[in-house]
């Protein structure tokens, strides 16, 4: 319902109507060959209205010519209106962005030092490579990379997320976006995109038809529509000498009416709106694409490379079981593990504390211990263990090899059964964490990756759509295989490195597949650049964001799947309305051809299968249907055809039935109804 109200918002509709009229400018119309033909037709009938015999031949009445002119003009205006409404929705969003993106003064630095010489310039003068300083309260003037400083930044203008985020130099959080605001501290930023090429500009460009680049499919479709228009032009123009030969001259207004009814005005009018609306749907999901081509490619993607962590599994492993060794009881192990994890703030650590509490009601009560008798040992890269020392007890937990080495060091023996347990857990795709107390192994904590709820169903849908899902993980093959099986992905890549990822993408591409992936780190950049559809997380590094052709402002790795669906929906909508538009023509022929010749050749009455009242009412009914179908289909063009993931065959059957068969039948009914309505009014026009 929310979208519905957005489509028909007064704030959008009223200016759109005005812009629809402004767009009648022929210099603008010539961009759309189909509608340009209609506009020329309107001009010709206008001339006929002024002087009905201006082109010789049979002269129709002034009023008839005037009515034809008005319907033709309305057809063009409806088309422009569709485009304007689509733009309007994007514009509303763009306007909000522009507000934060207004011209500001920028403190340009001569050197990347906080104290270096400052120069105040207008933000529009910033160029790529310039360095500037932003401090508390400043709006960041352009996209860039932080080269010094740490600051909290309000990015709500582009993400809609009100919580501030940290941006700092180095690492994965060094990218800043133009239009966002510094809440505290300062940053020194190097400009990575000149004004007009930044994020927000690109976003605005996607939803404004004047600046929008046509996508490859759209160009192909426009070419086909242009050829069809030529065919119909040929059909209509040649009809004049044919009719003259049969001594049944035609009036020019009717020939133009036939032409306009036949050329694919419906898709011609809505094509641009469909494209804009597709981009708009993407933006509504907080994804910014660098080009329409990328969105279209998303619909074609055959292989999705998905990072295990964050996309397929929840970010972290969780403890699921305690397995005691030797004489230790399960409860004893749980308690020791809990104590060792109390100071461990990692999600794994917290999950151990939680599991111990759930299984044995242990609370990890350390308050009773004396001050000083308690000493937490934090995790270190050297020891690869963490733990606690208290009252002579020394508890350690860590990766199996680290703990075994630790026990060996103390000259203690490792129980034989430990290896069996470790293997079992590994085979199950889990990660074992060994717990030892005073050099004695108590047992093993079974950590496990948790697959996100609902993800398996998504993968089943993907498979139906013919998309192969590949899980990418740094885990060992055993663990990876288990998770892959649990999540239901088609394939996986274990122990992935940036190089192997890149190679995988190239291999798939060599096999003719289009690859989509998400990434955030700098080392993802080569793979992102190679992938056909590459979505970078907004939280990602600047190199990653530059290598990608889409950026997800929500930084949600699962978004890739939605992007694919939006891409498909865009293509389907375009195809559906094209099919509908062409299927419509059959009925229009049966309305107009008999009407054109019925007066002289009564025998053609047999073709008037709709039993339309008079020749003029038949022609006008077909024209009116042709015009009003455009505004009727605007909501469909903007919302997109309902898309349910399924196989190509099922999709085709369903859409052919609705838009193909429906497209043949609908105008027969529509034209007949309009004829019933207008026949009494126009009478003997």
């Amino acid at each position: 319902m929310k979208k519905q109200s957005q489509t028909f918002n007064r704030d959008i509709l009223v200016p759109a109507l005005w812009r629809a009229v402004l767009k009648l400018d022929p210099r603008w119309m010539v961009r759309n060959p189909v509608m340009f033909v209609v506009e020329i037709g309107a001009l010709l009938t206008l001339m006929l209205t002024i002087d009905p015999s201006i082109f010789g031949g049979l002269a129709a009445s002034r009023i008839y010519n005037a009515v034809v002119t008005i319907i033709l003009l309305l057809t063009v205006i409806f088309a422009n209106f569709a485009e304007a409404v689509a733009e309007g929705r994007g514009r509303a969003q763009a306007a909000a962005l522009r507000r934060v993106h207004k011209e500001t003064q920028v403190k340009k630095l001569s050197q990347p030092k906080y104290r270096s010489k400052q120069e105040l310039i207008a933000s529009g003068e910033l160029r790529k490579g310039d360095i500037f300083l932003v401090e508390t309260g400043d709006t960041i003037p352009a996209d860039g990379e932080v080269i010094e400083g740490t600051a909290s930044v309000d990015e709500s203008a582009i993400t809609g997320e009100s919580a501030p985020v940290i941006r700092e130099s180095g690492g994965d959080r060094s990218a800043v976006t133009g239009g966002t605001r510094i809440l505290s501290d300062w940053l020194i930023v190097k400009v990575t995109a000149s004004p007009g090429e930044g994020f927000i500009e690109r976003m605005i460009a996607m939803v404004e038809s004047a600046r929008r680049q046509k996508t490859p499919n759209e160009i192909a479709l426009t070419a086909l529509l242009a050829v069809l228009t030529l065919v119909f032009l040929l059909v209509c123009v040649t009809l004049v000498p044919f009719a003259n030969f049969l001594k049944s001259p035609l009036d020019i207004a009717t020939v133009i009416a036939l032409l306009v009814c036949l050329i694919p005005t419906t898709i011609g009018a809505l094509l641009s709106a469909i494209g804009i609306a597709g981009m708009d749907r993407l933006i509504q999901r907080n994804v910014i694409a660098s080009s329409g081509r990328a969105v279209e490619a998303a619909g074609d993607v055959d292989v999705l490379l998905l990072d295990k962590t964050g996309t397929i599994t929840l970010g972290n492993r969780q403890a699921v079981d305690f397995i005691p060794v030797g004489t230790a009881s399960k409860c004893e192990l749980a308690e020791a593990a809990q104590l060792a994890s109390l100071a461990d703030e990692t999600p794994e650590g917290r999950s151990i504390v939680l599991l111990a509490k759930e299984m044995f009601g242990l609370r990890g009560d350390v308050d009773s211990f004396k001050e000083g008798s308690l000493h937490f040992v934090p995790f270190s890269a050297q020891t690869r263990m963490s733990g606690i020392d208290m009252e002579g007890n020394s508890i350690r937990k860590g990766a199996s090899d680290a703990i075994i080495a630790y026990i060996d060091n103390q000259g203690k023996a490792v129980p034989v059964e430990l290896n069996t347990i470790l293997d079992t857990i590994s085979h199950a795709g889990g990660t074992p964490l060994v717990v030892a107390r005073n050099g004695e192994v108590l047992g093993v904590v079974h950590l496990k990756d948790i697959v996100k709820g609902g993800i398996k169903e998504r993968f089943i849908e993907m498979r139906k759509m013919g998309i192969k899902t590949v899980m990418i993980t740094g885990d060992n093959p055993l663990t990876a295989a288990t998770i892959a099986a649990e999540a239901g992905v088609d394939d996986f890549m274990a122990q992935a490195t940036p190089e192997t990822k890149l190679k995988l993408i190239r291999d798939y591409q060599a096999g003719g597949r289009l690859v989509g992936m998400t990434g955030d780190g700098t080392n993802d950049a080569p793979a992102l650049a190679q992938a056909d559809v590459a979505v970078a997380m907004n939280t990602g590094t600047q190199p990653a964001r530059e290598a990608a052709n889409m950026i997800d402002l929500d930084s949600n790795p699962t978004k890739l799947i939605e992007i694919v669906e939006i891409g498909k929906q865009l293509l389907i909508t375009r195809g559906a309305i094209t099919t509908f538009s062409i299927a419509n023509d059959v009925a229009k022929y049966f309305a107009i051809i008999p009407a054109m010749f019925i007066v002289l050749f009564g025998e053609l009455r047999a073709l008037n299968i709709m039993q339309l009242a008079t020749p003029h009412s038949a022609i006008l009914s077909a024209m009116i249907f042709n015009a009003i179908i455009i505004p009727i289909l605007i909501p469909l063009a903007l919302r997109g055809v309902t898309y349910r993931p399924s196989s190509a065959g099922k999709l085709l059957l369903r859409n052919i039935m609705i838009y193909g068969a429906g497209g043949v039948i609908a105008p027969f009914i529509g034209i007949k109804l309009i004829d019933l309505l207008i026949a009494p009014i126009i009478g003997g026009l």
Partner: protein, 595 residues
């Protein structure tokens, strides 16, 4: 009626039985496999290559292939033109036929080099035996082989090979391995069944009846002769009790005329002439001969692409059109002409004007359908005198130009429609449309749609010019709607490279010879070049693997969608012309109107 249907069933049964062996034989011929003719034909082939200095193994990409095709066709064009123009000084002219008008020669050469076989002339009264041999029978082989070669190059492109073969080798093999053997066997069989084959000239006989009584002479009205305006004609042989029976090398011509889907007859009356088609069996043989190669080619396509199911889907769509149009043709004729029924003609025989009694309505409807489906253009009944409803069959099939079609060219057109269909409806599965694993993008869509545009452009455009500028409109022999249909039929037949005619139209005038010749040439070469370029482009593309998200083009669903799309986009192009021609005439006829 039952017998007529039985004839059709037998025709289809025999044809289907032949499709498998002939289709796989042709696949062998064009993929370099061994065949039974090799021991005899290899030396001949090598002799041809050696003598002409051609390396048959040199692979050609599509531009080179097209260039070779155009040059060879151009050279043959000149040779044929010279043969016709020098007819009076060349040998083998027993009936001393005169000089061939250059416009007529241009039209005839254009027509025969392109496998069209439109004839603005009456064969027995215009061409010497030498001309029939070297300007008619010769191109009947080479034009068919050219189409076949281009079809093979196209298939290789679709199969993903940018090397499209060698035109010279393809042409040679098409002639020596396919055309010559079939034509030889069929030619001899036709002689046995009564088709003449002789170098002897016209045979003059004294008729049994003797001279006709002057009052008894009641000739059927001649279309162009205005009885009132011409002076009393000189006595004819007929009225004197004599008959001059034209003969010639009929059997070899009729044989290749059908095997090569050419269609041009030795005689003016074409396959309705008792010498070209003496009985119902020769009629069936000629029918099968013209269907044989185009139908089998689909099986060849299936084998060469390794996609037999896809080939059968195309076959099914084509066969569906064929059967529908066969029924239309038959239904139109079997009821007879109601206007004649009204003046006392028994309608049980159906419409007999322009028909041969021995062939019957069933086989004649089949021939009308076959000759325009397989783009042969020979006729065993006068199409001009078909009922308007029946005339929709030849017209529509020539407009579609893909109901099997001639050799090679038919399925090339089919693929053009497949590409348009895939693009139009394929978007509805939410992917960039694909065909045979290749993405259909801007370039392919442009080539296919321009290729589609050519047919209506040539037909409607030239019709409009003819009418608007009133060029030689006196050639139109039937008034009213039918006159429009005559012009429509002529340009459709020319553009589709069919060659059949509404023969009342006197096309032997400068404008008709020129315009039809031009339409024939453009209709042939533009679409071949565009579609070979398209195949070349597809070949160079990376193949996309098939997934469940791929639009499968070898399913019944796709066949249905393809069928409907072909109907709609052609209906949109040609409905007004059909409405003002045959449809209007049909309703006029039912209303009892005459013109």
């Amino acid at each position: 009626m039952v017998i007529d249907i039985l004839q059709w069933v037998i025709f289809w049964g025999v044809l289907l039985a032949l499709v498998f062996p002939v289709g796989s034989y042709m696949a062998k011929v064009f993929t370099g496999g061994r065949t039974w003719f090799d021991p005899v034909m290899d030396p001949i082939d090598n002799f041809i290559y050696k003598l002409s200095g051609i390396d048959p193994k040199k692979q050609q990409r599509w531009p080179a292939y097209v260039k070779a095709m155009l040059i060879v066709n151009g050279v043959m064009f000149v040779l044929m033109f010279l043969v016709l123009e020098l007819q009076t000084v060349l040998p083998l002219n027993p009936d001393h036929l005169g000089f061939v008008d250059p416009w007529l020669a241009f039209n005839t050469v254009s027509s025969f080099i392109t496998n069209t076989n439109w004839q603005s002339y009456g064969g027995e009264s215009t061409l010497s035996y030498f001309s029939q041999m070297f300007a008619i029978i010769f191109p009947m082989f080479t034009s068919a082989a050219t189409g076949l070669a281009c079809g093979m190059a196209f298939i290789r492109g679709l199969g993903g090979s940018v090397d499209m073969g060698n035109f010279y080798a393809d042409l040679t093999r098409a002639i020596t391995r396919i055309m010559l053997p079939i034509a030889l066997v069929a030619g001899v069989v036709l002689v046995v069944l009564g088709v003449p084959s002789t170098f002897a000239g016209t045979q003059t006989v004294n008729t049994l009846n003797g001279p006709l009584a002057p009052a008894a002479v009641s000739p059927a009205s001649q279309p162009s002769a205005e009885a009132t305006s011409t002076p009393a004609p000189a006595p004819t042989a007929t009225s004197q009790g004599q008959q001059n029976i034209a003969r010639g090398l009929v059997a070899p011509l009729v044989s290749i005329k059908h095997a090569g889907t050419n269609g041009g007859g030795w005689f003016n009356a074409n396959s309705s002439h008792p010498f070209e088609n003496p009985n119902p069996i020769t009629n069936m043989i000629e029918n099968l001969l013209m269907a044989l190669l185009p139908a089998s080619l689909l099986y060849t396509l299936g084998i060469m692409l390794g996609r037999k199911k896809q080939a059968w889907i195309f076959f099914g769509v084509m066969a569906a059109f064929f059967l529908i149009f066969l029924v239309v043709a038959y239904a139109g004729e079997i009821q007879g002409n109601p206007l004649l029924t009204k003046v006392g003609v028994d309608s049980t025989q159906g419409n007999m004007e322009g028909k041969e009694l021995r062939l019957g309505q069933g086989e004649t409807a089949l021939f009308v359908t076959s000759t325009t489906a397989f783009t042969t253009g020979s006729v065993d009944a006068m199409h001009d005198s078909l009922t308007p409803l029946a005339s929709i069959t030849p017209l529509s099939q020539m407009m579609l130009n893909m109901v099997f079609g001639g050799k090679g060219v038919g399925f090339i057109n089919m693929i053009m429609f497949v590409i348009l269909t895939v693009f139009l409806v394929g978007l509805m599965v939410g992917r960039t449309p694909e065909f045979l694993g290749k993405r259909i993008q801007v370039y392919e869509v442009k080539l296919a749609s321009i290729s589609f545009l050519m047919h209506p452009l040539l037909i409607l455009g030239f019709m409009a010019i003819t009418f608007a500028l009133q060029l030689d409109l006196s050639s139109i022999s039937n008034p009213g709607f039918h006159g429009l249909t005559q012009v429509l039929y002529a340009f459709t037949s020319a553009s589709a490279n069919n060659g059949s005619a509404f023969a009342g139209l006197n096309a032997n005038t400068p404008w008709w010879n020129f315009s039809l010749g031009v339409v024939i040439l453009l209709g042939r070469y533009i679409s071949i070049v565009l579609m070979l370029a398209l195949a070349g482009s597809l070949a160079a593309k990376k193949a996309v693997p098939v997934t469940s998200g791929t639009l499968q083009t070898d399913t019944g669903l796709f066949a249905g969608v393809l069928f409907v799309t072909i109907v709609i986009i052609n209906l949109l192009s040609f409905f007004p012309a059909l409405a003002l021609g045959p449809l209007a005439e049909h309703f006029a006829m039912l209303a009892g109107k005459v013109f």
